[in-house]
Amino acid sequence: MPIFDQGYQHWKGPLSGRVWRWVTIARYGVRVQRNNRIVRLLLLTAWLPALGLIGAMVVWGMLERQSESLLAIFSKFLPPEVLQEPQALRATMWTLAYSIFFKVEMYFIMLLVAFAGPGLISQDLRLNALPLYLARPLTRLDYFLGKLGVIGALVASVAVIPAAAAYLVGVCFCLDLDVIKDTYPILLGSVAYGIVITLSAGTLILALSSLTRRTLYVGITWAGLWLISAAVGTIMTTIHGESLRQEVYHAESDRWLDEHPPPVGAKIKQYGNHRHPVFQNNPKTSRLELAGLQPAQQAEGDRWVQEWSRANGQAWQKSRTEEGAATRGDWRPMCSYTANLQRIADLLLDTEGAWITLGKAVDQPQAALKKSFRVVMPANVVQSPPGSERRFADQFVLQYPWWWSAGVLAGLLGLSTWILTRRVKSLDRLK
C-alpha cells in the first residue's frame, strides 16, 4: 500500500479577479503571434520609421542647441529668424514629424493586422475552441476584449511605444523642461490615435475573422478593404479634382477669349466645349507664334499672346483655388479606410495648425518641401494663393470636416460590434 499517493492532488491557490481574464487571453494571443515569422519581421521593420522619428527629434534638439552643421543645412529651407530661435517652432516641427511618422507607420499597422488579425477568431472557430473559452468563468466581453488586446498590443508596439520613445529622446535632447509643457499634447494625441486605430481596425478584423473558419479569406478581405478602398478613394478624388479644375480653367479661359478676341485671322481651335488659340513654330525666330496671322500682324499677335499667357496663368490659379475650396466639402477621400484614420490623426495631433504655423513662418519655394515630403502628399494636391498661410495645410491635410471620418469609423465600429455579437452570441450557434 503506497504511503504517499502521487496521483491527483487538490489545489487551493489564489485566483485573480474576473476583471483581468481578458488580459490572459490577450497575453496568450500575443504569445501565439510571436511564433509567426512574418509578424516578427514586420514588428522589426516597423521600427525603421520610428528610428526616423527619433532622428528627427534628435536633429531638432541639436538645432535648438545651435549645432553649426545643422544650421548650415537648414539655412536653405528655413529663414534666419527661425534658425535663431528654433524653440518657437518646436511644437510645430514635432507635430509634423509625428504626423509623417504615423502616415508611414499606417502601412505597417495595416500589414500587421492583415497577418495577425485573421486567425484571432477564425482559428478558434475552426478548432472549436469557443466551448473551451465559454465553459470557463469568463464572458463573451472578456473574450472580445482579450482578442482586441492582441491588436492593441501590436499597434502599441509599432506606433505608440515608438512615439513615446521618440518623445522621451526629444525631451532629453532639448535639455529644457518647457518642452514638456509645449509638446505634451503630441504625446497624448499619439496615445489617443493608437487607441482609435486599435478600436477601429481591431473590431473590424475581429468581425471579419468571426465570419469564416478560413483565415486566408479574412486576410484577403482585409487587404481588399485597405488597398481597394484606398485606390477607389484616390481615383475618385483625383478624377473629381481634375474635372473641377479643368471646368473652372476652361470657363475662365473662354470668358477671357470672349472679352479679348485675338487679332483678325488668328486661328482658334475648338476642343469640345472650350477654345484654345493655335500656335505654330517660327523656324526663323524659333518662337511659338499665333497661327493664321499676317507678318504685319505679328507684333499685335505677340502682345495678345502675352496677355493671353497672363490670363491663362490666372485662370489656372483660380482653378486650383476653387479646387482647394471644394475639398473642404469633398466626401470622396472618405472612401479610403486609411484616409479616415488619417483624418482623425490630423485632428488629434492638430496637424493643420502646425502646417499653418509653418506657412506663416516660412517663405521658401514649395518645391523644397514638396521634394522632401513627396511620399506623403495626398492625391488631391491643391494650391492656395502664394503667400497664403494655408498653402501647406491645404496640400498636406485632408480638408473635409473631421466628424465625417469620425462618423464613418463609428459606423464601422457599430457594424463590427453587431457582427461580433451575432456571431458569438451563444453556443446555440456554434458547431
Partner: protein, 304 residues
C-alpha cells in the same frame, strides 16, 4: 445536492431539446444516459449557463443557473464531447492556459498543468503541439484541462468517444478515481450503458428531452428474479394456461409471455411443461433489468 432543475425547457427552432425537465441529483458520481438526441449535451450546457433556456430554473452546487453562471463555471470543470483545441500551443501550455482562464496565476497554472498531465498519463507528450495528438490523447488533454483548477464538479461529455478499448478503460478508471477517491462529484454523460455502469453510482436516463428514469444504478440494475420472456411455436394461450396452473404468474406481451416462476423453481419448469403439452419453445431469456429496459425505451422514444 449536486444540482436541481425545475421545469427546464429548451427549443432549437422546431426541435424541443428539453421538455419541462425537473430533476434533483445527489452529490457523487452521476451518469447521464440516453441515446443520441436525448438532450444530454443540452442539459450539460444548461447547467453551465452556456445556452439560454426558454423556461425553468435550477441550481448547481447551490448556485442559480441564471444569475450565477460565472460562479458555477468557476466551480465546474467541463470536458466537451467535440474535439476542442486552443490553436498553436503544446500540451502543457494548453492546460496551463485553461487554468489561467479560471483565474490561476501563470506560475501556479504551469505547475498544476504538469501535475495533471502526469495524472492523466500525458507526461511524455506534454511538449508536443496539441494538433499532433491522437484522439485518445486529446480526450486525456480535455480531462486534464477540466481538472487543472481543482473543480468541485467535473462534467465529462462522451469522454470515451473514438477511443480504443485500452484508452477507454483508462479514461473510465481516471473518472472513477476522481469521483470515488478524490472527493469530486462527477457528471458522466454517455450513450454507452457499460461506461456509465463502470463509473457511476447514480444515473439519469433521458429520452426525447424528458427524464425517463432516475435512481441508484445498483437498484435499477437488479435483474427481475425469476422473470422470463418466452415465445412458443404453437398455442401461446394454452401454454400460458398451463403455466398458470403450475403456479406461475403469466403476462402476455405482444407475441411473448412474461412469466414469473415460483421462488423455488428454475427455468427447467418451462421446458418440462412445454414437453408435457407438446409445445416447442422458440425463445427464452431472463427479463432485462429495469435500467436496460428504460434505456431501450428511451431509444425507441427518440427514434419514433
Amino acid at each position: 445536492m449536486l444540482f436541481t432543475l425545475q421545469d427546464i425547457t429548451k427549443t432549437y427552432g422546431p426541435i424541443t431539446a428539453l421538455r419541462q425537465l425537473s430533476v434533483t441529483v445527489p452529490a457523487g458520481a452521476v451518469g447521464l444516459l440516453g441515446p443520441n438526441g436525448a438532450g444530454k449535451t443540452t442539459l450539460i450546457r444548461t447547467l453551465l449557463g452556456l445556452i439560454t433556456i426558454d423556461d425553468g430554473g435550477g441550481q448547481v452546487l447551490g448556485m442559480d443557473i441564471r444569475s450565477q453562471r460565472l460562479d458555477i463555471r468557476q466551480a465546474v470543470g467541463f470536458a466537451p464531447e467535440d474535439e476542442c483545441l486552443f490553436p498553436g500551443v503544446a500540451g502543457v501550455e494548453f492546460v496551463a492556459y485553461a487554468g489561467e482562464l479560471c483565474g490561476m496565476n501563470g506560475k501556479d497554472a504551469m505547475q498544476r498543468a504538469h501535475e495533471v498531465l502526469n495524472y492523466v498519463a500525458l507526461g511524455e507528450a506534454r511538449y508536443r503541439r496539441v494538433e499532433s495528438y491522437s484522439t485518445g490523447m486529446k480526450q486525456r488533454l480535455k480531462l486534464a484541462s477540466a481538472i487543472v483548477h481543482d473543480p468541485r464538479l467535473i462534467i465529462l461529455d462522451e469522454p470515451t468517444n473514438g477511443m480504443d478499448p485500452a484508452g477507454r478503460q483508462e479514461i473510465l478508471e481516471l473518472a472513477r478515481d476522481l469521483s470515488h477517491n478524490k472527493g469530486m462529484s462527477l457528471l458522466f454523460s454517455s450513450h454507452l450503458l457499460p461506461d456509465v455502469e463502470a463509473v457511476c453510482d447514480h444515473v439519469l436516463v433521458l429520452g426525447g428531452g424528458r427524464l425517463l428514469a432516475q435512481g441508484a444504478i445498483r437498484e435499477l440494475k437488479q435483474a427481475h428474479e425469476q422473470m422470463f420472456e418466452v415465445r412458443v411455436k404453437n398455442d401461446a394461450a394454452e401454454f400460458g394456461r398451463r403455466l398458470t396452473q403450475a403456479g406461475c404468474g403469466v403476462e402476455p406481451h405482444d407475441d411473448l409471455l412474461r412469466v414469473r416462476l415460483p421462488r423455488e423453481q428454475s427455468s427447467d419448469l418451462l421446458w418440462q411443461l412445454a414437453a408435457s403439452c407438446g409445445e416447442q419453445i422458440r425463445y427464452l431469456r431472463p427479463q432485462r433489468s429495469t435500467l436496460e429496459e428504460v434505456f431501450l425505451k428511451a431509444v425507441e422514444t427518440t427514434v419514433s
